[in-house]
């Protein structure tokens, strides 16, 4: 209990944007808890990191670092879609939210989602959306989301 209490301190868990050195802090291993990641070399990681950085505030990846272990324990991303509807409105799309299995129950997921939703709001989005499993619906409801439509998918590989 004591350690959990301490671990919720902001000094223990730092919420920030992804940095290129996070590959050495377990970022890809964390994503592997979400889905298949395959093998990503340092060069491939750097190339994708630079591509995403070129989008500036239109594509942001949030991470939470456990500063005591220098390990990334939570992440999520948001990108800003620009539309013609709603007076040339913008929509934030939240993707790839995951919390390390060893750090669950500490509200870190909520912190990631808040960071991403706040960013979308600041960018002038009229809404932020995401797709999730039925099992995760209650979590997103606690983050202020409501169920709206159904997600359809077509796989190419």
């Amino acid at each position: 209990m004591e350690s959990n209490k301490a671990s919720t301190d902001e000094e223990t868990y730092r919420v920030r944007k992804l940095e290129i050195t996070d590959k050495n802090k377990g970022f890809m291993e964390l994503l592997q808890q979400l889905t298949v990641c395959g093998s990503v070399s340092d060069d491939e990681f750097q190339k994708r990191f630079e591509e995403l950085r070129s989008y500036g505030d239109d594509h942001v990846i949030c991470v939470i670092e456990d500063v005591s272990s220098s390990k990334i324990v939570a992440t999520g991303s948001v990108f800003i879609e620009k539309k013609f509807i709603r007076g040339c409105g913008k929509v934030g799309h939240i993707e790839d939210v995951v919390v390390d299995s060893s750090a669950r129950g500490l509200q870190l997921g909520k912190k990631v989602v808040s960071f991403l939703a706040d960013h979308a709001c600041l960018m002038g989005c009229y809404k932020v959306i995401l797709d999730c499993s039925v099992d995760n619906k209650a979590f997103y409801e606690k983050c202020g989301f409501k169920e709206k439509e159904i997600q359809m998918v077509r796989y190419f590989i």
Copy 2:
């Protein structure tokens, strides 16, 4: 019947990417059949058009023009999200698909979705996704999609 038969000809309905002059061909009025569009001035339209064009193949808007009337009768968009998961994979997101009420039943929606999904596939996406109402599920199933997750939304305005 005769006119419907003729109107399915490729020469009558031209499938292509959005052009800046499409604002004068009823593009915004078509989007109004999908949702609230508000008032968009020529300057605002041009600015958004240029912003989206700067993304190149990473954000494509498909339109179908009825060449006999120079009217845009169907549209849909796709943007390519770049990820770290799935070996730095990419996902196509289809948005804002609508067919003019006077041109339904001519498979134009299917043509738009095929154009967008083919583009995502060519861009190397491992999947293409979209959100739709329960009422539109059967249409997307005919386009090769399957129901997967649920969409959650949080509105800011």
